[in-house]
Amino acid sequence: MRHPILILASVAGIIILANATHARSSTLDEVKKRGDLRCGVNIGLAGFSAPDDKGEWTGLDVDFCRAVASAIFKDPTKVKFVPLSAKERFTALQSGEVDLLSRNTTWTMSRDTQQGLAFVGVTYYDGQGFLVRKSLGLKSVAQLAGSSICMQTGTTNELNVADYFRTRSLSYNPVVFEKNEEAVAAYNLGRCDAYTTDASGLYAQRIKLADPAENVVLPEIISKEPLGPAVRQGDEQWVNLVQWTLFAWLNAEGLGVTRENVDEMLTSGNPEVRRLLGTEGDYGRGIGLDNDWAYQIVRNVGNYGQSFERNVGMGSRLDIARDQNKLWKDGGLHYAPPIR
């Protein structure tokens, strides 16, 4: 205590340190310096993000993380996956714990405008559905009046159910869990008559039930759930990079560029393909990457359609039809702006 100056200096030092966090450097620079991309994913949702039997993360959301890593590092393995619950996800992104949230997250206005998040697009067009036991013989959601419904906290699902039953003046008993596994386990043990989440999630959870064939997904969908990746607001370069990774992923499918033929396509005469793969133009520079950024995405993870079929589509255990997740020209909703 002989040097009050020292104490004051250290206090001032702390204040300066605290202030230093005001200034953020660019996310891309941070990611490059760190040498890996930190990607927030679901703790375990078959088809979207779940560790396989070798401990490798797989799924559509996981593939998107790998696509971004491929664009930046030309290496799909330079991703550190951070499993997050529905409750933790936004805080993890805001606090900088992850660079990118690719975790079946619904794009809503309040999330996009009030929570410091920026959604870059849609990877999966979904809607909320209900899983019920076949023996109940139900045809529509309204017939669930008076029933108990299991769901997960911190989701748009919780709000949609409340809206649905309130506007129809029907009653129901919500049973809300923090983790999906517990909600599904409780449904499985008969605590609830129905389990609700996005339809994709219902198919993913159904294959884990004791007797999948005894459970059906009601055909009625009660909400719009456009699921997509999100980043922090305020770093336009990073927003663009992640957004155009998604667009390149979709455009590659539209142009018929696949993981298998991408090297042959390098010599293609189609100017759209040439701009996508970087053999023509200087499109990578605008997002701080080399011109072969999209080539790396397709070479390492394939195009969107390939990833879809592999993880959730007919080539997977989930067996989900593509329907509205087809490209626009095939009658679906996916429509990516052109690279030019």
Binding site: I7, K87, G146, T153, E158, A162, G234
Partner: protein, 397 residues
């Protein structure tokens, strides 16, 4: 510092105060205080600035916005159109309910097991030991999950509801009790009951005064019993039994009507009670063992019966040792109730620090409020127990 006192005797007058250890001490303390205050203010301002820079909403205005979700157990009126502020009160009420019931049950069970540990009956003492050692050495979260899923598996589905006497229904969706329906005249019965209780308290005081004055044992038990039971019964019959019940009846999916105790609540209470009671049992045992053997022997020598020895001599002295750590256990139970979120019980952490935080994403505000509430509950409990402790303290005469 010592050098200041023995240093050169005559400094220039204007700087002499600098070498006064007392003044220096005060200056240093003020500087430190200002530094610490500046540090925390800076953190607050920095947080606010960063949140603003990231375009994250701040402030407490969200408490007035519509919540939009439903809650499975609400002790106070709540609809999905209520505000986030109302969600807070619903969650708080649910937390307090579990804490209050849990504390009462854990105390009763804890004292019983604590006494059983000291029992001269070999089997009883061993069983109590086994219970204590198993329960307090397994993580509470696992116990809660185990209880919850055991209940869901063990109890019947609603279509096969177990119908008990008195209209009680048991399913794995909850324990359904008949709900009393308030009718004209029931208020008078309640008043009669209160009068009866007041009369018996007076009788008890009179009996104690008489015993202290004359030494004669006056048994007031039957007087009190009659005073409490008879007047309400008469009023009840005079009004023509003004009480009916809303019995739970099978509905399309669940039993409907009556009062429902959710399996989440039952599992949480089971887990918290059994876990905390194991610790309380050890506290009770140590408290009783802390009373010197001579006290019991002296009491026995005076001719007191064994239960009188326990009640009049041992327990009052043991309580002095028991109460402070018991307070700790009460606080632990209250704080542990926040594990409710794992099994779907809508406590404060689950609905407010969980759902509301997620909907509004105002983590700083929500967590601050939640921490403040737990702090307040804990401080209140501690205050109450300190007061109780002061009352129980040995008065030296």
């Amino acid at each position: 510092m010592a050098s200041a006192r023995t240093g050169p005797p005559r400094q220039t007058q204007s700087f002499a105060w600098l070498y006064d250890p007392r003044t220096r001490g005060i200056i240093l303390q003020i500087a430190l205080l200002v530094g610490v205050a500046a540090f925390f203010i800076e953190i607050a301002l920095n947080t606010a600035a960063n949140l603003k820079a990231q375009n994250i909403a701040t402030g407490f205005g969200f408490l007035d916005r519509t919540a939009g979700f439903d809650i499975s157990q609400t002790l106070i009126p709540y609809k999905s159109t209520s505000t986030y502020g109302q969600v807070f009160w619903v969650g708080l009420a649910n937390t307090l309910l579990v804490a209050a019931i849990g504390i009462v049950l854990a105390t009763m069970l804890g004292f019983t097991v604590g006494l059983a540990r000291l029992s001269s009956n070999w089997l009883v003492a061993r069983l109590a030991t086994v219970y204590v050692e198993i329960v307090r050495n397994v993580p509470l979260l696992l116990q809660l999950l185990a209880w919850y899923f055991t209940l869901l598996i063990a109890l019947p589905l609603p279509e096969a509801a177990l119908q008990l006497p008195l209209g009680i229904g048991v399913t794995n969706r909850g324990l359904y009790l008949p709900a009393p329906v308030w009718q004209q005249g029931l208020g008078a019965v309640l008043i009669a009951l209160l009068v009866g209780i007041a009369v018996s308290v007076a009788i008890g005081k009179w009996a104690k005064r008489k015993r202290l004055a004359t030494g004669a044992q006056v048994s007031a038990f039957w007087f009190c019993f009659v005073a409490i039971v008879l007047p309400p019964l008469l009023v009840f019959l005079a009004y023509g039994a003004p009480l009916s019940f809303d019995y739970p009846k099978p509905g399309r999916f669940n039993l409907e009507g009556g009062i429902v105790l959710l399996p989440e609540l039952i599992a949480l209470l089971l887990g918290l009670t059994l876990y905390t009671a194991a610790f309380i049992a050890e506290i009770v045992r140590s408290g009783i063992e802390a009373v010197p053997r001579g006290q019991k022997e002296a009491a026995a020598a005076l001719g007191l019966r064994p239960w009188q020895v326990q009640r009049l001599v041992v327990i009052p002295q043991a309580m002095r040792v028991i109460i402070p750590p018991l307070t700790n256990q009460y606080l632990n139970l209250t704080k542990n109730s926040s594990l409710a979120v794992a099994i779907g019980y809508p406590d404060l952490v689950s609905v407010f620090a969980g759902t509301v935080l997620n909907q509004t994403n105002q983590a700083v505000e929500v967590i601050l409020i939640t921490m403040g509430v737990y702090l307040a509950i804990s401080l209140l409990t501690a205050l109450l127990m300190n007061w109780f402790n002061a009352r129980m303290a040995l008065v030296e005469r």
